[in-house]
Amino acid sequence: MSRFKVAVHIVPRRGLLDPQGKAVADALHTLGFKSVEDVHVGRHIVMELNAKSSTDAEKDARAMCERLLANPVTEDFEIATVSTS
């Protein structure tokens, strides 16, 4: 068993209304960042966990996202990084 640090990104599903993302985009436009086309605000979760390999660590994290960390009805997730800690 080794210890891994796994980071996951959870974002609102594309196509669903994201008022928080829109408010941030509007604020960025007000500040002069005219290049901004679209903003989505989600969550970044960092976990330290024990697993046999980085593949197992990623598999575990994926299961956690499917069962708790992300809402399958409204959110998408991706495993951002898996590293030894």
């Binding site: 669903l16 209304l17 008022p19 928080q20 969550r43 708790l68 809402n71 009805v73 409204t74």
Partner: protein, 230 residues
């Protein structure tokens, strides 16, 4: 008739609900702690409003894994009535007792105000004391009440009469496209496929006494009483 009111850490409408049932309807009620493993013979289970587990992660996401929720799910599966109000609605969706999800209000603000609702289906175990199209006034108080589901689910809910309450725009206006939170198709409350789980964002327990502004919510409790007692 015994109502079981679940208290999660952060529930804050459990006492109001108890008051509506015991003092207004003169029925029995018992508090069920989230760590309990039995419903103490409750005929009807109520998931009350509040901020269970501080709304951490997502409203209702952690409460759904409380030990008591196993019993609530089994009760629902047996056809037992479950009334899920506000945070309870969010918990019921997270637990898969109801389809869809409740997202952050479109205006990003917590909205606390009386709203007008239209009874879309009076033929459920929670609405048989109302008439079709009846307009009710009940308070809402939530930051995450934007009902969201995919189009197929929404069409099915509407087709099967599972959309029970819809928000109404202002006084006397019948435009149901409006909602205080951006809810899809103006949906304020739905019932499950089997019809025995009702989830709604408005608070019927806060509209159970005319002295406090409205008793339009009492009909929900009376409806389920009439059905379960029958």
């Amino acid at each position: 008739m015994k109502f079981g009111i679940v208290t999660f850490p952060g529930s804050n409408c459990d006492y109001d609900t108890f008051h509506a049932i015991v003092d207004v309807l003169n029925e029995d009620a018992v508090y069920l702690w989230h760590k309990d493993h039995e419903l103490q013979g409750s005929d009807v289970v109520i998931l009350p409003g509040g901020f269970s587990y501080g709304d951490y992660l997502r409203p209702g996401a952690i409460a759904r894994f409380s030990p008591i929720m196993q019993e609530v799910a089994a009760h629902a599966k047996r056809g037992g009535p479950v009334l899920a109000i506000c945070n309870g609605f969010q918990i019921a969706c997270e637990a898969g007792l109801l389809p869809g999800a409740l997202l952050r209000n479109e205006g990003l603000k917590f909205v606390s105000e009386p709203v007008r609702l239209r009874v879309e289906n009076p033929d459920t175990m929670f609405t048989n004391r109302y008439s079709a199209g009846q307009i009710l006034t009940m308070p809402i108080a939530h930051g995450d009440g934007r009902y969201t589901a995919d189009e197929t689910t929404l069409d099915r809910l509407e087709g099967e009469g599972q959309v029970v309450f819809r928000y109404m725009h202002g006084a006397g206006d019948t435009d149901a496209s409006w909602s205080p939170n951006g809810a899809m198709r103006g949906i304020a409350g739905i019932v499950s496929d089997a019809g025995n789980v009702l989830g709604l964002m408005p608070h019927p327990e806060r509209a159970a006494d005319a002295l406090l502004g409205s008793n339009d919510g009492t009909g929900i409790f009376e409806s389920v009483l009439a059905r379960v007692a029958a």
